[in-house]
């Protein structure tokens, strides 16, 4: 999938900052899957996630001059995407306040059926129980394996706030599982994991 794996993202960013669209195109190919999946956790439909992925890349291109290599490019990109998603959600709230809430997002009905057969899927559960930032924090932590500081950069909050957010999100999920008894006694309490969070 990556056409230029030997060139690291920072070098491509430097070229793109000089105006090279081809380098930015390579960055798009390199990061589109991660960004699309990150946005899938925030929005309500795959179509919206796809639109937002495109918008986020275009917005990132426009603002590329503001990127500094203090953070990884992907971290900055996720922050741009989160901002774009928040803007769209705000616009939707402003213009469709009277609309009834849409049904919860189920990207793949077949996968959902498998998940129900295997037991409760925590990520689907997260969509119904957690807010957008909590879901993003969980995704960045478990899937992208980002530190609390990097997640804080994306969510525009402190590392400590991220730790609290992760702790609460995991506790909500664990409590729900215990309450339903679907995995009673089968899921370890998440408290121990919080102690291993790197800042």
């Amino acid at each position: 999938m990556n056409r230029s794996p030997s060139i690291d993202s920072e070098a491509l960013v430097a070229r793109a900052q000089a105006g090279c669209r081809e380098s930015f195109g390579l960055l798009v190919e390199r990061h589109q899957k991660g960004l699309y999946n990150f946005l899938l956790q925030r929005v309500r439909s795959p179509q919206e996630a796809e639109d937002l992925t495109q918008d986020s890349f275009v917005r990132a291109w426009r603002r590329l001059a503001t990127y500094r290599d203090r953070w990884r490019f992907s971290t900055w990109l996720y922050a741009v995407a989160r901002s774009a998603a928040a803007d769209r959600a705000r616009e939707r709230r402003e213009f469709t306040q009277a609309d009834p809430p849409e049904p919860s997002f189920d990207p793949d009905p077949a996968a959902g059926l498998c998940a129900r057969e295997e037991g409760e899927n925590l990520w689907r559960l997260a969509r119904t129980l957690l807010n957008e930032d909590q879901r993003s924090a969980l995704w960045l932590f478990y899937v992208e394996e980002r530190s609390a500081a990097e997640i804080g950069k994306v969510l525009e909050t402190s590392a400590i706030a991220v730790r609290v957010m992760l702790f609460r999100a995991r506790r909500i999920l664990a409590q729900h599982l215990e309450h339903d008894g679907t995995r009673a006694g089968a899921v370890a309490p998440p408290r121990s994991r919080m102690e291993t969070l790197s800042p």
């Binding site: 195109g25 001059a65 899927n121 925590l122 089968a186 899921v187």
Partner: protein, 133 residues
């Protein structure tokens, strides 16, 4: 067997991962042609320049502001001011007047001071006939 919450989260996340739709990269490339690359915003130098300008203006004002010359005490220059001997006489006169108002008998030291003052006045200005002795 107890499963770890984190292992479940990671394992289930792998099932949640999707491939990005095929058209994203091409669509973004097409939109980049219409999207100009914005230049970096200039650093916010205005507040710093303003503060530096104010400081420089204050320094210049302090250096070049016209000052009123300080009034120096001049005994000889001011014609209205009493001369040193006249002042000595006046003060001696007042001292003797204050001393004469004390009811109790004056102490010997006080008498000596008054006498010395009177002698000083005599030496400076001659006899002062109206002063109490």
């Amino acid at each position: 067997m107890k499963h770890d919450f984190d292992d479940i989260m990671r394992a289930q996340a792998r099932r949640e991962l999707r491939e990005a739709p095929a058209g994203i990269a091409a669509a973004v490339r097409a939109r980049l042609t219409d999207a100009p690359l914005e230049r970096a915003r200039p650093a916010r130098t205005l507040p710093i320049a303003l503060a530096a300008g104010l400081a420089a203006a204050a320094l210049l004002a302090y250096a070049f502001w016209p000052r009123t010359p300080a009034v120096e005490p001049s005994l000889a220059g001011d014609p209205a001011a009493p001369s040193a001997p006249a002042l000595a006489v006046e003060l001696t006169h007042k001292g003797i007047q204050y001393a004469s108002r004390i009811d109790r008998p004056l102490a010997d030291e006080w008498r000596l001071i008054v006498q010395d003052s009177l002698q000083l006045c005599d030496a400076l200005l001659g006899q002062l006939p109206n002063l109490p002795r």
